[in-house]
Symmetry: C2
Subunit: 289 residues, 2 copies
């Protein structure tokens, strides 16, 4: 069920991204926006659509925040890949935007995708109640900004220049910003749109996000570059603290499994309706890419 | 009156930016955000506050979109100054962010200021009616994105790599995106917040934005680097088409004056209440920085 719905989420977002960018013409920046926002697992969009389904939010409304979060995620990857940031030449098995075009186009395409995310959540078709649209915008801004995703990035960079490697609690805080904030936003969207309690999904997403990052650190060691589609082993080579360096490979795997159990427990109020989200949690730590 | 109110707008925005960034801690990225968003003429914030005043919107609400537009403007300058973009070392007479810190910090600080703009317009204190907040977000996203400001930037870059210099109509379209879209958003905010007709202020801002850009091109030729606080003569040296290269220096001045007359005419419905906006229009073409 999960795989089918993940694929379905990916198809829907692909179509909707094409739709919202249809009137933007054929400038290199717009081509780069389309290129950078194509493909990927679409896990965040899946979380949005599933949490909407749990709360009977119509799919033609939920597609707007699903598209928004994928636009924001795409912008963050384009900027992260820049030579002055992680300097990555490969993403999803393809040349990164600054390699295929140039740095200037990558900066601008990232900026425009960033804005597009906010355009999608504030679009009238996203929800009939403007209070919901304003809420989605405010929470998305907080999750993406200097107290969310950018904070995580900034802590990551600060760690590189600091003398000592990060502790477990520091790296947990870093990842809560870098990955966790957008995961949490995605998973709670349905509850926000239905004006329902966000607590269970918040707990689910918090554990899921951390498990996702631990799995990423494990993939960085054990993964197959071909399947993952990006350079691996960079963190270990750079001597950076990761969950694996701090907990050991087995310790990291045990911790990830415990987090997934937590995540699944949090879904109890939704009964079997949340089975796809449970499968997603198990997928997150068993994926090979 | 205009100078007093412009100074007042600058002071208010300065205070409010400090307030909204107060809880962000002391990371280099946050320091860079504060540095990049300090100073400047604050013309966009002034436009927001004046259009709010014209429509009896309380100043403690209007300060939110005023701060938002200055955060967005600051982000655009930080990214424009990057080596891969305009490669400017000086801004407002001070080292640019990537010079004072590094490129990575500049990319991230710009990104976080970008997000902060959307956080400000969707903040509950910005307006009691969430429909207004959602509207401000949607229109800001459209003005800043790939059909507004980023479009202008992209056209500017495309022009540099194209063989032939731009025509007058091409450069007018470019500037309508690059400067005009955010000017128009700023000047119409008060009408949007009061649910009033935005047409007169839209007409005002359209002429004002274009006149502003023509004045910029004139300053690039006639200005004093010390006063302007950034490198001058770059466009002429690069053989780029500007309003001055296309219309001649006198022709550009005549055109700018005609646009300012248009802008002032558009304000007729507001009578003498709009005198500060009229003064602002005259300032835009007489400024030396």
């Amino acid at each position: 069920m999960f795989e089918f719905r993940l694929k379905n989420a990916a198809d829907q977002v692909e179509t909707h991204l094409t739709h919202v960018m249809a009137s933007m013409g054929q400038l290199p920046v717009v081509d780069a926006m389309r290129y950078a926002s194509a493909g990927g697992k679409r896990l965040r969009a899946f979380l949005v659509l599933e949490s909407a389904r749990l709360h009977d939010v119509p799919p033609d409304q939920a597609i707007w925040p699903a598209t928004a979060i994928e636009a924001i995620h795409a912008y963050s990857l384009v900027h992260d890949d820049l030579p002055c940031m992680d300097d990555d030449a490969l993403r999803r098995g393809l040349p990164t935007v600054h390699v295929k075009w140039d740095e200037c186009t990558a900066v601008l395409a990232g900026d425009a995708l960033h804005t597009l995310g906010f355009e999608c959540v504030s679009h009238p078709d996203c929800h009939q109640d403007p209070a919901v649209r304003a809420d989605l915008t405010l929470t998305l801004a907080r999750a993406a900004g200097a107290q969310g995703m950018v904070l995580g990035q900034a802590l990551d960079i600060a760690a590189e220049t600091a003398g000592a490697p990060l502790t477990l609690s520091e790296i947990t805080r870093l990842q809560a910003g870098k990955t966790g904030a957008l995961f949490t936003w995605s998973a709670t969207v349905g509850a926000v749109m239905a004006r329902a309690d966000t607590d269970p999904l918040q707990r689910y997403a918090k554990s899921l996000g951390l498990a996702f990052q631990i799995a990423d650190d494990i993939l960085d060691i054990e993964g197959d570059t071909q399947k993952v589609g990006k350079a691996l082993g960079k963190d270990a080579d750079a001597g950076k603290a990761t969950f694996v360096s701090l907990l050991g490979l087995q310790g990291a795997k045990t911790r990830a499994r415990a987090l997934i159990d937590d995540a699944c427990d949090a879904l109890t109020p939704y009964g079997e309706h949340a089975d796809a989200l449970r499968e997603a949690a198990r997928f997150v730590i068993s994926r090979d890419s």
